[in-house]
Symmetry: C2
Subunit: 353 residues, 2 copies
């Protein structure tokens, strides 16, 4: 007797003002996340939008600064790509020593189909200056930060080569529908392979600059600070680390003796996943999990493993993904003060009884 | 600019089959929980009910075993009481060493208004035997347990004095509406002050016995086992321990310097809450939090504390409730193998920056 028709998982609330809620990653079955369960990560209250919010100014170091209407954007060839977005703080709650900030567990990650115009098309249409160095994307969301009394918009830049990557999109649809309000309607940037702070929502303006952009969401936040008390060795958060997450069983579950399916996802921001290893003896021995679909660059691969759990006892299950650039999940995470990029080997415990 | 109209918290999923979801306790404001956010705790799939499921047989050691219709029940004087229910496993995830089972955080607790007939009225109507010792309540929910291949119904007993307590109800309404299906429609037991395994849902039968009931949900589960490897010193789970929970701020939050409101709830299964102490220096000094309403026996009291957080740094906030029977939350929980009754001093950390 299945409960699935009656029982729905929901987003898991981390804060309500601003809204930060994560995907119940253990309980999602689909490989594209419906809007209802797509994690929500906000720095500020939701912006007030008006009918002019759909006009997109693209300006700065270019020959023809242009104000695009939605109709203008629709006239450019569109592209639809399945892209995973992961919050840089995903799994922050797992760091030891613990770090402050939203205590994301493993579900600040979701994926689905984004449709839009390559940013490259717009920039080329405008006649990009040869001196163009970065592209600054500003969102309509704004507010005060704890470190100043000024109102800041959420604003970040991309290096020119990433901005010109043909899969960096100015998106206007998610899963075939207009972008949901909470995910950046009417226009958001989609930057495949980078942590999702780069995928600016509610785009207000795109500006090309010939210098290096500095703003608090680029020079204070979204920086790896390896030390607790000083900023030595700091470097910016960019591409996703190679990662894997066990969806089932859940941590500290009690199971019968017998055959169990262990399943999960794995993803990376460089190349493709090539292997997911699994251990059911706390890391002493490893075997390959089965990849359920052909790994591709911008989305997770689902994996599974049939585990004959015949003896009662407590077991530590671990998974370790590797990608085609040779990166592999470390046993210990790279601790950093703001808690970004956690990607240590995933692990849970279960009891067979 | 408030986000509250746009942002809703949801139940937090622990398992979907059976459904176990907890209340997002940090984000509830009301003192009666709406059905949507009332925690759900199931041992089995939801039962299949038919129109005969609303007939209630009350039988066993009595002069007039009776089959009550809903109309019969409605003819008895009804009682409406605000009662808190807490899962015996609430806060299980906080035990160290960790224990197996649903990893409830702090939200397997909810409260609201229950309306029904005192069980005592029904038992007296039926002419209780003088030898009556326990009252066995059986639910329509059933299934296999990991420890046997037999199908067991969820079934538990109450000692006769608790069954005859005038506030032990056979309830048919929650918050003025017919009981929600997931909370035991059409009839559930409400046993104030006991952990909620006693408040059997979807009542199928009530049977009075002259002996001591034994069943797996009474003699295997819902027992405190103080030792990991043997059953020495085991004793049954009954009344709620005295407890308190910090709702706001959330754990590992970052806050500005300035005045902050710390708020939460406190409750007990014996007597009333008399005091909630709060410490913002990791337990070195304590002060009384303000109780926001008059403590009463069956529900939580809300408390708050104004905290002038003027100096940057990391702070450990603790709360400790005491009740009128002299019980007080311990610094360390009473560890037990199945992880019941966690009630150590609640604590969170925050960073003022």
């Amino acid at each position: 007797m299945s409960n699935y028709s009656l029982v729905k998982p929901y987003l898991i609330t981390r804060s309500v003002s601003p809204e930060n809620q994560e995907t119940p990653i253990s309980f999602v079955e689909a490989d594209r996340i419906e809007n209802r369960l797509f994690y929500r990560r906000n720095h500020f209250s939701y912006p007030n939008l008006s009918y002019t919010s759909s006009w997109l100014p693209v300006n700065g170091a270019m020959q023809r600064p242009t104000l695009f209407s939605m109709e203008d954007l629709f006239r450019f060839p569109s592209k639809t790509i399945k892209v995973l977005l992961e919050c840089a703080g995903n799994k922050r709650s797992l760091f030891e020593p613990k770090v402050f900030g939203e205590q994301w567990e493993k579900g600040a990650v979701s994926q689905g189909y984004w449709t839009g115009v390559p940013l490259k098309s717009l920039l080329e249409y405008c006649g990009l200056s040869a001196q163009a160095k970065e592209v600054v994307i500003e969102g309509y969301d704004q507010g005060k930060r704890p470190d100043t009394d000024k109102v800041h918009p959420f604003k970040r830049s991309l290096p020119i080569d990433k901005a010109l990557h043909p899969d960096t999109l100015v998106a206007y649809q998610y899963n075939g529908q207009p972008l949901p309000y909470k995910h950046g309607c009417p226009l958001r940037l989609i930057v495949p392979q980078w942590y999702a702070m780069a995928s600016v929502k509610w785009i207000k303006q795109i500006r090309v600059i010939e210098s290096e952009f500095e703003g608090p969401f680029q020079s204070i936040d979204y920086i790896y600070y390896p030390n607790k008390d000083d900023n030595e060795g700091a470097f910016p958060v960019t591409t996703l680390n190679v990662n894997s997450t066990i969806q089932k069983p859940v941590d500290h579950d009690k199971l019968d003796t017998g055959q169990h399916t262990i399943k999960g996802i794995a993803y990376t921001g460089e190349g493709k996943i090539t292997q997911v290893e699994i251990s059911t003896d706390g890391g002493k021995s490893w075997t390959n999990a089965s990849l359920e679909n052909e790994p591709s660059e911008y989305e997770w691969v689902s994996w599974s493993h049939q585990w004959p759990a015949l003896e009662k006892g407590e077991y530590t299950i671990m998974t370790r993904a590797a990608d085609s650039t040779g990166r592999i999940q470390p046993m210990k995470p790279f601790w950093n003060r703001k808690g970004y990029g956690y990607n240590a080997v995933d692990q849970i415990k279960v009891k067979i009884e």
